[in-house]
Symmetry: C2
Subunit: 369 residues, 2 copies
């Protein structure tokens, strides 16, 4: 027996007085192995701290017990400033993998570059989870390549009808509707939408459509002057809202396509001296951890990242095992905090909100146009 180096299955076999195949079977809990023999083998393996070489077993058995998570973002602004929403997805995907006995490889990639989504091709992973927003036109091409290569993958994002592969996503349409309904119920009438509103950003676009549907259901017409594009960063939210304010079209509420955008929007509003929610009510989307810590705490539409991570992993595993699998749309939940003016505002100190808001917006217009 070898003294130095890590033991292999032959070493264990030799010590246990059985063949190497029996060791392999015993270690993997194969049912035909004699119970007593198995115990003996396991004891020796434990004592020698033997761990089966995964490269050898993956090579032979053709599966790696590993999943890959690809996170991509528009311009990877800064190493440490990853979208917090993706971060919490990452957490739940990691936990879900662990529960299913899989390891997780992760990689951050810029959508603009050529991804190396080769983890499955090179047999490092059995399948891939795709997480990120980006230009869908760009993105779709990548998905086509994955489909063509027969890669197992699931993506987080809008569940579309002409789906390439499977998606797990949230019900962005209903979410957008709920956000707008909430603002309407509070008497807001001139509701801005900050976020990309084109098919290039399907998730945001669905939220925008939900918003539009809610307005129309209330007898209002969405005003194109009250929509400004923004990707999901605080800076984009700040800049888009500044643009919106410069336009001078009055508004008394703002629905941001993401919390990051909402936080940037609140900063832009504050820098113009506008009060949230008194002058402008603000709703976000995602419910990132920061949302409850900003001032005022942000009312937002929560996505269930825990469930999403679980479903992403389960669906991918089904795909890998050739079990039935399908795209799933998760419900979104409105989380009411204080950025829309619930439970605030004694009537004496704060005049009626709608009026105030209009006045505020009008004041902003005067100040900045």
């Amino acid at each position: 027996m070898r003294i130095k180096g890590k033991p292999n299955s032959f070493d264990i076999a030799h010590l246990a007085g059985v063949s190497q195949s029996t060791v392999s079977r015993a270690l993997r809990g194969h049912p035909t192995v004699n119970a007593e023999t198995r115990e003996r083998i396991l004891a020796i393996a434990r004592q020698l701290n033997y761990k089966a070489d995964k490269n050898a077993s993956s090579l032979r058995s053709k599966h790696s017990g590993t999943l890959a998570l690809l996170i991509f973002e528009d311009p990877t602004v800064d190493d440490s400033s990853i979208n917090p929403f993706f971060l919490s997805m990452l957490g739940s995907v990691t936990h879900a993998c662990a529960r299913h006995g899989y390891d997780l490889l992760i990689s951050f990639q810029e959508l603009s570059r050529n991804w190396h989504a080769d983890y499955e091709d090179c047999h490092k992973a059995d399948g891939i989870i795709l997480l990120g927003y980006g230009d869908y036109l760009d993105y779709r091409g990548r998905l086509e390549a994955l489909v063509e290569q027969g890669t197992h993958f699931v993506r987080w994002g809008a569940v579309l009808t002409d789906q390439l592969g499977l998606s797990i996503g949230c019900d962005n349409l209903r979410g957008g509707q709920q956000a707008a309904d909430h603002l309407l119920a509070l008497g807001r009438r001139r509701i801005a939408f900050v976020g990309n509103a084109s098919l290039r950003s399907p998730e945001f676009f669905e939220r925008y459509q939900g918003y539009g549907a809610a307005l129309r259901a209330a007898g209002l017409t969405p005003d194109a002057a009250l929509q400004v594009d923004a990707i999901s960063t605080e800076l984009a939210g700040f800049e888009a809202t500044s643009t919106l304010l410069q336009r001078g079209t009055p508004f008394d509420a703002l629905f941001a396509a993401s919390d990051l955008i909402a936080i940037g929007a609140m900063r832009a509003l504050a820098s113009r001296g506008l009060r949230v929610p008194a002058d402008v009510a603000v709703v976000g989307f995602d419910d990132i951890p920061m949302a409850s810590f900003v001032n005022p705490p942000l009312t937002t539409v929560q996505q269930d990242t825990r469930r999403a991570g679980e479903l992403l992993v389960e669906t991918l595993l089904n795909l890998i095992h050739d079990d039935p699998a399908q795209s799933i749309k998760l419900p979104a939940t409105l989380v009411v905090r204080q950025s829309c003016g619930i439970g605030l505002a004694p009537a004496t100190s704060n005049p009626p909100r709608v009026a105030t808001a209009r006045r505020g917006a009008a004041a902003a217009r005067r100040r900045h146009s």
Copy 2:
């Protein structure tokens, strides 16, 4: 040649009219391969979308081109509520790995359970990065096991003299000193410390010692009644600060061992009607993204996560390649925002801060004892 399935190096060899060994050499850029032959091979490989099987190559070559990141936390409260500081470390470690051409496996583990830090034993990774705070007494045993097994690892955390393995950490002592010096320079004299202050939490303990050193240098004696233990969560910060307030010992400043604790502390302070910074100045540690969004924006001691991630990866790679490597202490930087009262407080509306703070704390005591 096989029609279905993925091509292997023999398929490429056959098409290129060379031996399989030459294909292998060409693909890895071996210098002895004829330039023209190499081009031919590369062209065919590209065309067939050939990717070398990593399991086979890792098995044969004995290295996996993969690093593992183990993140552990005290009680994994909730899947999606991972300590944001670790999350930003995770981001920078991932990017650093990518820059060095390594893949990254990640795993969240509870320190209380048996870790499976077996990634290297089973040849899935060439080395391990350890990230997390937890009871160091517990932790040390795990490190001993790693050392004994000859595992390559680097940990993030306090750089201690009786180090097991290598650590990359920040200069917690200087950081704590800077935080306390800042408060002292603003005239605060009764400075509380919220966070674990024992050798079981070496990082926090170093910060506590820096704080103590600063007080003593200013001729003050740290008051044990002004220290309360807390792990790095918002809830722990809230509860510890509540305990502190109940004790009734007056204080005009609070140094939290982490931003999460500081945020919890500010919530506890606010719930007692105490104003930050007027009544109590607050400093945190880490500079997590949330720090600049809380109200008031948190003054804190920033750790350079980007550099830290880079050094963690570089040091581990040096260890793996048997190159010289050492533990490193990174400088910490005070980031002044508004939670300590810089650039605030026109003298007319706010009475001198120290007095106010004392009054505030005293008021709190009266209210809650």
